[in-house]
Symmetry: C2
Subunit: 491 residues, 2 copies
Amino acid sequence: MADKITSRDINYSEWYNDLVLQSGLAEYAAVRGCMVIKPHGWAIWENMKSILDKMFKDTGHVNASFPLLIPKSFLEQEEGHAEGFAKECAVVTHYRLKTDPDRKGKLIVDNESKLEEELIIRPTSETIIWNCYKNWIQSYRDLPILINQWANVMRWEMRTRLFLRTSEFHWQEGHTAHATKEEAVEETVKMLNVYADFMENYMAVPVIKGVKTINERFAGAEDTYCVEALMQDGKALQMGTSHFLGQNFAKAFDVKFLSKEGKLEFAWATSWGVSTRMMGALIMAHSDDNGLIIPPKLAPLHVVIIPIYKNEEQLKTITEKADAIMKALKAKNISVKFDDSDQNKPGWKYAEYELKGVPVRIAMGMRDIENNTVEIARRDTKEKSVVSADGVDAYIENLLNDIQQNIYNKALSYRNNNLHEVNTWDEFQIQIEKGGFISAHWDGTGETEEKIKEETKATIRCIPLDAKEESGVCVYSGKPSERRVLFARAY
Amino acid sequence: MADKITSRDINYSEWYNDLVLQSGLAEYAAVRGCMVIKPHGWAIWENMKSILDKMFKDTGHVNASFPLLIPKSFLEQEEGHAEGFAKECAVVTHYRLKTDPDRKGKLIVDNESKLEEELIIRPTSETIIWNCYKNWIQSYRDLPILINQWANVMRWEMRTRLFLRTSEFHWQEGHTAHATKEEAVEETVKMLNVYADFMENYMAVPVIKGVKTINERFAGAEDTYCVEALMQDGKALQMGTSHFLGQNFAKAFDVKFLSKEGKLEFAWATSWGVSTRMMGALIMAHSDDNGLIIPPKLAPLHVVIIPIYKNEEQLKTITEKADAIMKALKAKNISVKFDDSDQNKPGWKYAEYELKGVPVRIAMGMRDIENNTVEIARRDTKEKSVVSADGVDAYIENLLNDIQQNIYNKALSYRNNNLHEVNTWDEFQIQIEKGGFISAHWDGTGETEEKIKEETKATIRCIPLDAKEESGVCVYSGKPSERRVLFARAY
């Protein structure tokens, strides 16, 4: 059994770290800022991937794979992009080690293997992909190109946190090319909606869809759409972004096509991505001081059955009954594990599976056998109930749906209770200390945005897509504003 | 439509390259030695991955993810391993670029970001994984650890060929830890058998299972098992390897555990991997001068339906009938595409789908509608037949099984016809020029192995697992030998 997890109330940040480590999701690697995603963590990520992958394919996208390394000169092509990305990245300068002639068994870099041009481990792949698209796009008939890539990327981060900010991380990056601006904008919004659908209906995390301010835009984008969620400590987390890139990358890499009308035009681009950062959001949105709470739709294991017995004969009787239940559950695509290991007591096992976030636990003892019942405990509310063993598979199928919905409802009600309309700067300063989203008027200038950030550490998370037009005055400058935007302190 | 593909007879190597490029599987990237795997190629690789992944999970393995970068000092830990791997690899020496003060818009490496210790892009992950296992393994209760990783790796190759040898490639690497030698050896062989099963029953490529000679062993292994196949040009290709690593990595990284008997012991290791190289094997084993031949079990698209029509009304009639067929096929999990694009003529489409290796083509014209028939062409033999539209789904289901089997049989018969027992050095020299495997006696010394390689470019592919004991004399040295080994020129 793991060490005690710091309580959320005492130190949320330590709670998070303890939880990730002790539930076996991930740990820090020997390489600074990188992590090892352990089997339990990777299994959740695999579930996320396979659901998203299907959603991408259902919306007409195909997968491909582009190189890990990018020539330095590619990053120089798109000015804004270089500013935003080129700076903190892993640089490959040599391609060979050799035995150190002076120290036995040691290796040194072979200076004769210096590369003519340095290579960068991709922080994102717009440049290398648009360099390919240049050869793939000649005519409007070649468009649209709807490609996604599942990949590892690297951004040299100075302050890292497991899943939330690591130097190497895993993600998917969609890169599409279109014949018209309208189509590219439509794609950008379509993928934002796919993300929101996934986050709400699978991760059980309610999100707010919006557009970033110019200050917060992706380097090289004309518009950055985003989905924002609230964590249990009242801080916001950007869950994913979808960028309308205009013709910036087509111009940088000279990607022109012959239009239907016979004119040479630059292609229109989008890119969109979500990453292992979502693992951090999943954990922080739902889990408690006892461990992980994983929505059933993403849980690697749905049900654990724990036998309570005094001797081999009792175990045999319970096992027989458990086998029948397992068979019925598996027929409903519910994954189940029977833990009859004799290394640990039932109480230890209860705690262990709570820590790991298994949504449903069944306990079966001799009294259950006599009464033809089982004891069922749900992970989200910790409620226990004794139910008939007959039809327990149908009961659990309903229960899993109920748990999925309950986890979402709980997160939604927390989010709604922590989203406040604020109309004065005094109010703003008080409210921001309490955490949560603040909906307030803003004068639309980067200057005001910067000042608010300096004074309160709050950033504009987004201009919500559903923000209604509403005349008002900026909460900071008093200048006129046409709609409210969403502020929060954020990860 | 693509350019003409060089015929296999004229230049096999050019045929391969033309085919990979024109069928849209992959192309060379802007980064030397790296490739872009295009959607059609990646879709086949995804199918391979998902089948293998299920096989690994069915044999008790779980997936995880370890860092891309490895500290240089890790490579120094295991001497043999360092010798074999550390040399040609991508070395990260800095972590920041900065704007060139002298040339506007250019970037240069920031010398202040030099790393204290260089990092290597993983050529394989034994070292970083065993550095983790050190913390994961204390007792026999922690064993076995059965972990697999799907990852990209990099080995700086000077001469590259698409899929067969590229600097960056994709693979899976299993890394297991065991309490006993017996269990580790068993695991090594088990995974070799999983590979052979996959290659024969999904890739339709017959393989010979064997053990590598000491010269050909993986750096750091005590035994390297392998699966070897024959390509259509008579050259062998190593399809995958499974290594028994003994206690070498446990000793290098000090991974000890308390045994059941209460003694501190070093753990036993295996590692095993197959890569995108299998894509090259798949292409070279089956395809022809018209394009790819993909076994149905790996084909991203099973059936294409091409309507033959003169006007919109005819197309409408054909479409209705095709819809019904598509529905029936999809119900049988057979993927199907209806290509009614008006950009190209049917003949162009026939050639295009042959090039891409779609196993079955259905053509439907007005005469088919009148007669309630469809014309079916199979890609492997190019045979055409006109069959009743009623029950065409069942017909195609059988046909796909038949194609899968036929492709395998053809490859098997080619392999068997090109595997010769040879007993004299003269014979050997003549036979090796004809291509294929040579089964011959060898004296068991690395010296003789080297000389044979120098004189004929033939290497010992493996000592087959099923090689029977048979007294003989080495084909080269005349010294005594106890069994035949398998020679070939290889990729």
